[in-house]
């Protein structure tokens, strides 16, 4: 049954290669730009989700407990996406791209954190005001995404 050993070794090597591929940081300018684009995409998704929830609350369509859960998730996900991107070493000429993404990313996490805290404290009336910066943020993220992909 020698061949089963070879099969096992091959499988382990395949799994290791896959994990390496999935975890490897971007090394080329192209792949770094791809990660930047998907990070801005993820950030914009969180911003738009939060906006929908604020709108649903204003119209009395959603319940407050559910909305506070949603704000918590949006903030945590945006934070995670941003810190993952910030952890990559920018290759070559991408320093500027890195700072653009992280600057807008910080603004996004701050805005989402404000929503989450207001919901946790029960300051529901403040939400529409706190949600004001979300729309321009979404537009900036979309512009950045387009510029990055080009």
């Amino acid at each position: 049954m020698r061949w089963t050993w070879w099969l096992a070794i091959l499988l382990v090597a395949l799994v290791a290669a896959s994990v390496w591929y999935l975890q490897a940081p971007p090394r080329t300018v192209g792949s770094y730009r791809d990660r930047a684009a998907s990070t801005t995409e993820a950030l914009r998704s969180q911003v738009q989700t939060a906006r929908l929830w604020v709108g649903a609350l204003e119209d009395g369509d959603a319940t407050r407990p559910a909305a506070s859960v949603a704000f918590r998730e949006a903030e945590a996900d945006a934070e995670a996406a941003l810190s993952r991107f910030a952890g990559y070493k920018p290759p070559g000429t991408t320093d500027e791209l890195r700072s653009e993404v992280t600057v807008v990313g910080r603004e996004v996490t701050l805005a989402l954190a404000a929503l989450k805290l207001a919901a946790d404290r029960g300051e529901w009336d403040d939400l529409p005001r706190l949600a004001d910066p979300l729309e321009p943020l979404a537009r900036r993220l979309q512009a950045l995404e387009r510029a990055t992909e080009r």
Partner: protein, 412 residues
């Protein structure tokens, strides 16, 4: 139709809804709708046809032999092959138990606002109490009726007032939307197949048929359950895709949470609709927790020939009861490690898709055994559809892992 037939009909239909829509669907359908609109709706149609075919076959095997399909596998295809199938199916369904249990906790989180990890032990305890105290049929009936709340998704589509021609154009375009790659598109084909053609539905359906003591005369009843139940589940799946399409697609929202799956209903139907959606999500994941849990217990018990099931006192099936309880505890512990239930779900359904051919082939072979099946042997239709489904599932299985890695689980 006799009143008792009608009753059994609704019962089976309801449990089919609970069986088809589970955490995998709630996540995958909303993700797919938000990213690809209805361009993957055809996959749901294929899945429904495939799972109907194999559920009917395994139901027929159970009627004729009074043995579930998996119980026959070992004596027909040998202990080695059946053991490999058992290990694969066990790993996938055990992962799914964890994901479904987390889904119950996530529904309770949405209703209450308290973090879902606090709800995981509560959900597990609730599962134990329900399984221990309620009879098999009543258990199905309750989560089946509650699962009907999922129909709010169908109502929500009308209230969102879609442009039907856009919806139709999306449905009729089986290709990725601009800006998405074919890799991502095909990865989500695999995910939807894995989420909707789940082998545990087949195990559960046939073991349930054995436990309800169905006989060959119940053939019509069994078929009605299949013909009504699974398409209804498929309709709900497409409704979730459509709702996510209408609300999220233009905004570029990516779905990563159950809260987002429920949001379109809130926007369409207000708080009442939203609460119904939460009830539906709770019932679907709760039902699926029970089904995956039992299916895993059945798989093990049938391989080793232990007594199993819920129709007898638990002490008369001590090994089965212990294994099931232990699995529930392990799943709850796994859920408490803060492993993201959505990621676990996606990984589990990809593995599940890769396993499909191995689990379908023995069923098709058994259903074709004239000596065993007698007058209930497979006809041409069942064989044609079954073979096509297996061919399709082989392609899906071969592509599953390369796509998972190359697309980084659909990210790029």
């Amino acid at each position: 139709m006799k009143p008792s037939t009608l009753f059994a009909f609704t019962l089976g239909t309801l449990s089919a809804i609970g069986g088809f829509i589970d955490i995998g669907d709630l996540v995958a359908d909303a993700q797919v709708g938000a990213r690809f609109g209805l361009r993957l709706a055809w996959v749901t149609v294929v899945s429904v046809i495939g799972i109907m075919c194999f559920a009917e076959m395994s139901g027929r095997i159970a009627l004729k032999t009074q043995r579930p399909a998996f119980g026959l596998a070992r004596s027909r295809i040998g202990p080695r092959y059946a053991l490999a199938g058992l290990v694969g199916a066990f790993l996938v369904t055990a992962l799914l138990v964890m994901a479904e249990l987390s889904g119950v906790a996530l529904a309770l989180e949405l209703a209450s606002g308290f973090h879902y990890l606090l709800w995981v032990p509560v959900a597990a305890a609730f599962v134990v109490v329900v399984v221990w105290t309620l009879p098999f049929k009543l258990m199905h009936r309750i989560y089946g009726v509650l699962g009907l709340a999922m129909l709010v998704y169908v109502v929500a589509i009308w209230k969102l007032d879609p442009d039907w021609s856009t919806m139709w154009r999306s449905t009729a375009t089986p290709a990725p939307v601009p800006g998405e790659t074919w890799g991502a598109y095909l990865f989500f084909v695999v995910v939807l197949i894995g989420a909707q053609m789940t082998p545990y539905e087949m195990f559960f359906f046939s073991s349930g048929a054995v436990e309800s003591r169905w006989r060959p005369k119940d053939l019509a009843e069994m078929r009605i359950n299949v013909i009504v139940g699974f398409p209804l589940g498929g309709l709900l799946a497409i409704a979730i895709q459509a709702a996510a399409f209408l609300v999220f697609f233009d905004l570029g929202v990516q779905v990563d949470h159950i809260s987002q799956t429920a949001l379109p209903v809130a926007l369409a139907l207000g708080q009442v609709g939203f609460l119904l959606a939460i009830v539906g999500i709770f019932a679907a994941t709760f039902g699926a927790t029970l089904e995956t849990l039992f299916a895993t217990g059945y798989e093990i018990a049938q391989y080793f020939g232990w007594s199993y099931g819920k129709v007898q006192p638990p002490a008369r099936a001590a090994r089965f009861t212990t294994a099931t309880l232990a699995l529930l505890l392990i799943s709850a512990a796994l859920a408490l490690t803060t492993l993201d239930p959505i990621t676990v779900t996606i990984v589990a359904v990809v593995f599940s898709a890769a396993l499909l051919p191995f689990l379908f082939v023995p069923v098709l072979l058994t259903a074709n055994d004239r000596e065993l099946m007698g007058e209930l042997v497979n006809g041409r239709l069942a064989n044609a559809v079954g073979s096509l489904t297996i061919l399709f599932s082989v392609a899906v299985a071969l592509a599953a892992f390369p796509l998972l890695v190359l697309t980084r689980a659909g990210v790029s």
